[in-house]
């Protein structure tokens, strides 16, 4: 992953990439099967192609730039055939790459949106060691069922020098646990206009997400 591509991904994530940068990212995707695997694993492309804006807290899709989403909404209707090609290429596991990548040269807003999602995925995995099966998947279910806390992704730009702050789509159980533990620790130290024990109301009412 070159530094330049990394910076392009950063721009894409910040919703500041121009069409040229996006095209470059798309080209990389078309050439690298490992990157395509990542795409399938995260399922974002499928949701985007179906026109769904992922709203599960913690998934990266929920913070795709508004500009991209407006473009998707405004995109002229594609022919059914072309869309099917796009969908098949994205979702078919271990698909043989077609002679000409469906990504290259596509400039519709739909492809742009899809590539944004995928670009984010590239960024995430480029920062870590090769993905292994034992890595914690995004704890989306846990966050979804949380009745007490709302976890929303914070805007983060992909940094260059081996950073280990993951993007919000990678929230794990230990992240949630740490946040809750610190919240309770902070609550205990509140001096009071309420009775001493009242400061511990947050501890007494703690619900596991």
């Amino acid at each position: 992953m070159t530094e330049m591509l990394r910076q392009s991904l950063s721009a894409v994530v910040d919703d500041e990439a121009d069409a040229f940068e996006l095209r470059r990212v798309l080209d990389e995707v078309g050439r690298d099967p490992e990157l395509r695997d990542l795409w399938e694993r995260y399922h974002l492309i499928g949701a985007v192609l179906r026109g769904e804006r992922p709203t599960i807290p913690g998934t990266y899709g929920s913070m795709l730039g508004d500009r991209v989403w407006r473009a998707v909404a405004d995109a002229p209707a594609e022919s059914a055939g072309a869309d099917a090609d796009l969908a098949d290429a994205a979702l078919a596991p271990a698909a043989v790459p077609p002679p000409r990548s469906p990504w290259i040269g596509r400039t519709t807003a739909l492809a742009v949106a899809a590539s944004v999602a995928f670009a984010v995925v590239i960024g995430v995995d480029a920062l870590r060691s090769p993905p292994s099966g034992s890595e914690p998947m995004v704890a989306v279910e846990a966050v979804e069922s949380s009745s007490q806390t709302a976890v929303v992704p914070a805007p983060v730009s992909v940094e260059s020098a081996a950073p280990r702050l993951r993007l919000a789509s990678e929230i794990s159980a230990s992240d949630v646990r740490r946040a809750h533990a610190y919240m309770l620790h902070h609550a205990q130290h509140q001096g009071l206009s309420q009775p001493g024990v009242m400061s511990l109301v947050k501890m007494a009412t703690y619900e596991k997400p």
């Binding site: 702050l165 009071l192 001493g196 009242m198």
Partner: protein
């Protein structure tokens, strides 16, 4: 008495009845005279409120709403032989009791309670009152005003508004018992004037009506077997010049309340903890070595409390995880956490 209440020409029995009614109304008006006089100082009411909570005996059931969940709890408080005694009982959901004797606080939970999973993550104690509400400082950052009266838990109350002077903190509406100045209802208000947290007594007994026996935890035949003891010894705060971190930006009126380094029980991580307050609102900054498995950049909220993470690098480019927790607007919390940096040696701590 006002002649209109005793109309001329009414029959004698009617006249007597009207006179009695008139007399009752007069007496009633005296007892219902407004609790506030023009010269009342809201700051004095806040001081009285704090004193009421630590000095009075009360036993009540209250509701607590954090924007998502509504909980019922019972609190009993008495001062016995000069020692603060309190008991907080969680009435719905997980059965938990928090019991306080003086400075010793313990939390009784059932085995398998979700709270126990947090114990190894970070230190749960010591229970140090790092933040003491400082009402003399409050008027730096908040306006105080009365806004009418209301009735809560069957008692007359006076309403007090605590209004932030900028967008970097939240406000409060407080309902204080007219007679004792005890807090009976409070709303924590966001920038749009909407309540983020509500606390309200539904019923309350005061003074002699409170039974000391109610302070004993109800063990329900041994089900509450596990104790989380919140260590209470107050740690020596670090001298300012030994604090390794600084904040590049602080909202107006916030000052450092305490700084400490602690070691988690079980884990090997040391966590630096910095605490700041403006006299009412408070936030804590936790700084630790970035875990091997990394950490997620995230914002999470529990009612008015927000937690934000951030990564910074030390002098040798080693990565650290910074977590800010506080009752602040999200944008303010994010602005503060992004301004955390290692102190240059010899510099003045934030």
């Amino acid at each position: 008495m006002n002649e209109r209440l005793v109309p001329a020409g009414a029959r004698p029995a009617q006249q007597r009845f009207n006179a009695v009614v008139a007399a009752c109304l007069t007496i009633g008006m005296v007892f219902c005279a407004p609790a506030l006089r023009a010269e009342d100082d809201p700051r004095q009411w806040l001081d009285d409120m704090a004193r009421a909570f630590s000095e009075l005996s009360y036993d009540g059931v209250f509701s607590y709403y954090n924007g998502r969940e509504l909980a019922s709890l019972r609190v009993i408080h008495m001062v016995i032989d000069g020692e603060q005694r309190e008991r907080l009982v969680h009435l719905n959901g997980a059965p938990r009791e928090i019991v306080r004797r003086g400075e010793e606080v313990s939390c009784l939970v059932e085995p398998g309670d979700a709270l126990l999973e947090l114990e190894g993550s970070i230190p749960i104690g010591p229970f140090a009152r790092a933040f003491v509400r400082r009402y003399d400082r409050i008027s730096e950052s908040y306006g105080l005003s009365f806004f009418g009266e209301d009735r809560v838990a069957g008692r007359q109350t006076v309403r007090l508004a605590v209004t932030p002077r900028d967008d970097d903190r939240y406000g409060y509406r407080l309902w204080l018992d007219e007679q004792t100045r005890l807090l009976l209802r409070s709303e924590l208000i966001d920038g749009d004037g909407q309540p983020m947290e509500i606390f309200q007594f539904n019923q309350i007994r005061l003074g002699d009506e409170v039974d000391a026996a109610s302070l004993e935890p109800d063990d329900k035949g041994g089900s509450l077997a596990t104790h989380l003891t919140l260590a209470t010894k107050q740690p020596e705060p670090l001298p300012r010049d030994q604090v390794a971190w600084q904040l590049g930006w602080l909202p107006e009126g916030f000052r450092m309340a305490a700084a400490e380094i602690r070691r988690t029980s079980g884990a090997l991580n040391a966590v630096d903890t910095l605490m700041y307050s403006d006299g009412l609102a408070a936030f804590s900054v936790y700084i630790e070595d970035m875990p091997e498995t990394g950490a997620a950049s995230m914002v999470s909220r529990n009612g008015a409390t927000v937690a934000v993470t951030h990564m910074i690098h030390g002098h040798r480019q080693e990565p650290y995880l910074v977590t800010l927790v506080g009752e602040l607007p999200t944008a303010t919390a994010e602005r503060i956490v992004r301004s955390v940096s290692p102190r240059l040696d010899g510099g003045d701590g934030g």
